[in-house]
């Protein structure tokens, strides 16, 4: 590949990542501060932002580390939280198909924000399209890593009472919930998620409700699917 074309792709990609830059620097920094406060310093935070690279899971993962949860539980919670990535992948099957040696990294780094940029991106035909995707992906991850490092350093320099800062995770999920609700789709699924979970907290208690809630949600949604299929057959 011609170096000039790679550079042209970078020049095209960079402005498109600026909104992500703002978000990732701030959320990454908040993550770094939280990690630092809980006793997981520079190397832990850096390693996780490089190899896990999944924003909301990293916040949740901090709770896994602090509470020393069972690894199997950590695995299934992570799977559940990240299940949406399955569908980003499905949407990108065609676009990433012929990406060659860039493909593994493109798939590895397909975060929510990167997906939101690349899924609608139609670069001019003169540019090497997979390099545009690659630059968007790697710039986004760099913002996240830089944000994390800034947060760890800030957290160790400034001393302030961070009690309650972990509420950022709750806030993040509430914001996603409102965004999804506003989009007008999935009201029923969102309510199934909330109500099934509340029911399982009441029945199984706050420490054992997750797995039953996952099964209940999957069960209700599958029943819905069977019903809608039957309607189509009639």
């Amino acid at each position: 590949m011609d170096e000039n074309k790679k550079l042209a792709a970078l020049r095209y990609a960079f402005p498109r990542t600026i909104p992500v830059m703002a978000g990732y620097l701030v959320l990454g920094a908040a993550y770094g501060i939280l990690m630092n406060v809980n006793g997981y310093g520079f190397w832990w935070a850096l390693m996780i932002s490089v190899i896990v690279y999944a924003g909301s899971l990293q916040y949740l993962g901090l709770q896994f580390l602090v509470a020393a949860v069972n690894p199997i539980y950590a695995f299934f919670m992570s799977l559940m939280l990240n299940a949406r990535h399955l569908f980003y992948g499905i949407s990108m099957l065609d676009k990433y198909r012929d990406a060659g040696k860039l493909k593994p990294y493109l798939i590895f780094s397909l975060s929510d924000e990167t997906f939101s940029v690349v899924c609608h991106e139609q670069p001019p035909k003169t540019l090497p399209i997979h390099w545009v995707y690659f630059w968007v992906s790697i710039l986004d991850q760099c913002y996240w890593i830089i944000g994390t490092v800034i947060g760890v350093l800030l957290g160790s320099m400034i001393k302030f009472d961070t009690k309650g800062m972990d509420f950022a995770l709750t806030a993040l999920f509430v914001v996603i919930f409102v965004d999804q609700w506003k989009s007008g789709n999935g009201h029923r699924a969102a309510l199934i998620g909330v109500l099934a979970s509340v029911a399982c907290v009441v029945i199984f208690g706050q420490n054992a409700f997750i797995i039953p809630a996952m099964i209940l949600i999957l069960g209700i949604i599958t029943l819905d699917y069977k019903k809608s299929e039957k309607r189509e057959e009639v």
Binding site: I90, F108, F167, V178, Q180, G193, L195, S197
Partner: protein, 111 residues
Amino acid sequence: MSAEVIRNLIIIAMMVAATMLTRFLPFLLFPAGKKTPKYITYLGTTLPYATIGLLVVYCLKNINFFASPFGLPEIIAIAVIVVLHLWRGNSLISIGAGTAVYMLMIQAVFK
């Protein structure tokens, strides 16, 4: 390496494995030209919504509504987030303000 470090590394490995599984699986399951099963597509349009509902409940599971402060810090902070987010629609403002309100509540108001 201490047992704690090893335990942390195992938990992180689980997070990596689950994340990689969700990101790579579609490309392994549905190679060129194969059509995605309808049930999978249906799960794709519904599960993300239900999961976020579950996670909101997960974050709030330790609230005790029957003892002071009766979940008020959480309720007020979430109300702020929802109103701000419906009004401005800026994730950073909503998350930042909501977290700040919550910190203020538990550090200064409901001590």
